[in-house]
Symmetry: C2
Subunit: 473 residues, 2 copies
Amino acid sequence: MADTKLDEDLAPFPPIEDEESDQLDEENRLKPEFIDAVRESLEEGDEGRTYDLVEPLHPADIADLFELLEPDKRGMLATAITDLMSGEVISELNDYVRDHMIEALPAAAVASIAEQLDTDDAVQLIEDLDPTDQRAILDELDPEDRAAIESALSYPEETAGRLMQRELIAVPEHLTVGDLIDYMREQDDLPTDFWEVFIVDHRHRPIGTCQLSWILRCPRYIPLTDVMQRDQTLIPVMMDQEEVALRFQKYALISAAVVDENGRLLGQLTVDDIVHIISEEAGEDALLMSGAGDGDINEPIRDAYFSRVRWLIANLGTALMASFIISAFDAAIAKLVALAVLMPIVASIGGNAGTQTMAVSVRALAMNQLTKSNTRRILWREIRVAMLNGATVGTLIGLATAVVFTPMLGVVIATAAIINTITAGLAGVAVPVIFDRLKQDPAVASSVFVTMITDCMGFFAFLGLAVACGLTG
Amino acid sequence: MADTKLDEDLAPFPPIEDEESDQLDEENRLKPEFIDAVRESLEEGDEGRTYDLVEPLHPADIADLFELLEPDKRGMLATAITDLMSGEVISELNDYVRDHMIEALPAAAVASIAEQLDTDDAVQLIEDLDPTDQRAILDELDPEDRAAIESALSYPEETAGRLMQRELIAVPEHLTVGDLIDYMREQDDLPTDFWEVFIVDHRHRPIGTCQLSWILRCPRYIPLTDVMQRDQTLIPVMMDQEEVALRFQKYALISAAVVDENGRLLGQLTVDDIVHIISEEAGEDALLMSGAGDGDINEPIRDAYFSRVRWLIANLGTALMASFIISAFDAAIAKLVALAVLMPIVASIGGNAGTQTMAVSVRALAMNQLTKSNTRRILWREIRVAMLNGATVGTLIGLATAVVFTPMLGVVIATAAIINTITAGLAGVAVPVIFDRLKQDPAVASSVFVTMITDCMGFFAFLGLAVACGLTG
């Protein structure tokens, strides 16, 4: 009998190889054929078929489906699958796609979605809407949810206060393990997911924390104060999300208490919400260094244009500076055109070496690994790497130039390449460190300055040495 | 009475503003003065003072302290604080710093550290050692730990099998909530931290999962099969860590079961271990795109040199190609030196625009947002952004050139800038997408190719147009 039941239970559980084969490819991305089928059913206006296609998907995959479809199909899809549009789908959606969709939905529909969500997700849903739309949605909510969301919105964006969820378990310290279990069994409105219980004093300040696994392994009579851990990472409510992400990562936290300036417990942050921030913050450096702004493929073209063109114009300015340096040597170039042929090489070597060092420094600064305590050591390390790189690349280009042009020009370009590589190593550490000391994000502006330095030094060292060595005399 | 007790408990709990003031600055980094004090006490050989200084630190901060100290001081510190060298310190250490230190410790000392760790951390401790050292340490371990570590080492690096911990709770499906709680209270060797319980069938295949919070809120008589969730994300044991990190992020997982090819439960992965991978994988793109390899400031200089010089040489090759194109126009340049002065500007604009688009594409590919289903749409989007950028920057440089040189040269440089910006937009999407289709990491090699394309096109379009328009005639 027991065996029969087991087999029945097993039957619907597919073997692992075949799992996810209809909608997802081997890298867990939605298959193009699946997207095409959805697209087709939307174009035919067949809402029933659309629903049947989408229904087996995980909410996170439904969110991906919205992002992969063309903007004009997204509204049609939302209408076809209204009751699959759970809070989980909404919270997994890309910001731009979500805002675009939410703006198109009536306030009552948005409110009914917001009501199913934890505070933090509900806030995310409406925080970027314009004030009138936000007000209309808030008015549809019941007073308790509205108060929670309004209170979250009162904290600045990207702070712990904005991100935290208010739903949590906080109990007084005189309880035993058994009391706590009984308390939780009696409560109807516990948070959906929680991983630890906070023990608070009579002023509602957290004095300890207790992982659920510790509670489950203890006999009922043990006092909570014997199980709980007193040392805990408390997150001040105004802390920036980047800092929050670093704490979660550094201390391997699953959840943490958020406290006000008096140390009173206001809410909690859980790692499933922070994981997105960790990934965003780590991934944005590549985008920032290239001057690509948010760098989101769902960003409207207008926004992408404005954020990128600023940096292109800034770089145009640095390119003009390099041109000034070249123009100072125009007589020399007119005499020896080989200089014009070779000069971009020296600038290019320096640019690449500078970008390498800068990427390393920016990452180390972001991870709090490059601090006042070791800046000098790291600078010296980078100069040594630069000398090795410069010697290698300088020798190669020097030999090639000596063969094609003249030995003297080979010596000049090799020397210029070494000078520029070392300059690049210095600038690649110094520029981001200086921006960091000035409390600026080193990823944002370093690139323009490092390129300017290596371009100018590249042209100046090469052309200047060529003139000094009498090659154009 | 209760109040008195409360106050006593509160006394040692510091107000939040003063917290961490002795060792950590406001950004949670170790203060330079603190590092100096430790450095000084190490130089004086005062092990007692060193111990007293380090003792209040969190293990993650002790790990940071090792990384910030000079390599020759790290051994001295380890000797001074032996009993603070917990598994947590070791697992938080940077790979290079850890390997360097572990190699210096005797096998028995390493074994005694390994024994306190979960399998996954113990594996991390010894996986990079050479086979003889690894063998010596394994021989010191008790047979059970040794078997677990050897089994983990049998999976390739960076797979789920290497990363997973074997310690987990798996129970048969016929238990009730009460049975499970009793079972956990009786067990002595439960894992240190766990967040969910796996329900397995008689072949040890996971059929459901149960968060601890669900267990705690249910009455004892409820069967586990009524509480558990059947749908779960199972991680195949050979899955690559990058893929694992994406699943954790996409489905907001706290832990997940790792299964073999027959679907049998082998171990679990928890988000606190995956968070480091998520951050690493997201952050490495900036390093890879710049050709900075691992880009770790703790990497030995020799390794940093070899990983970077390869890319500098590859870039030298592309710079030489650009030089060939210039040399084809040397007669034109000799006649009109202004061309040499201006040509780097066109290449630079294209290079920047290409890097921006490439950074966006690489990030979108890494996040599985750019797939076959939307490549054409994104390509078209980027071309439109490029046309706007090209028109803006082209107009600016065209006007400036027209004023300083001649109107015709202004038209030529503006046209060349627009052509190169659009080329950059195309290449910035196409190159990473092609590498991705060829199953190569688009972050690694795209940069060299995109720069080559924009450099060559920049010089060719500008010099070619100048000649075609008769400016050098």
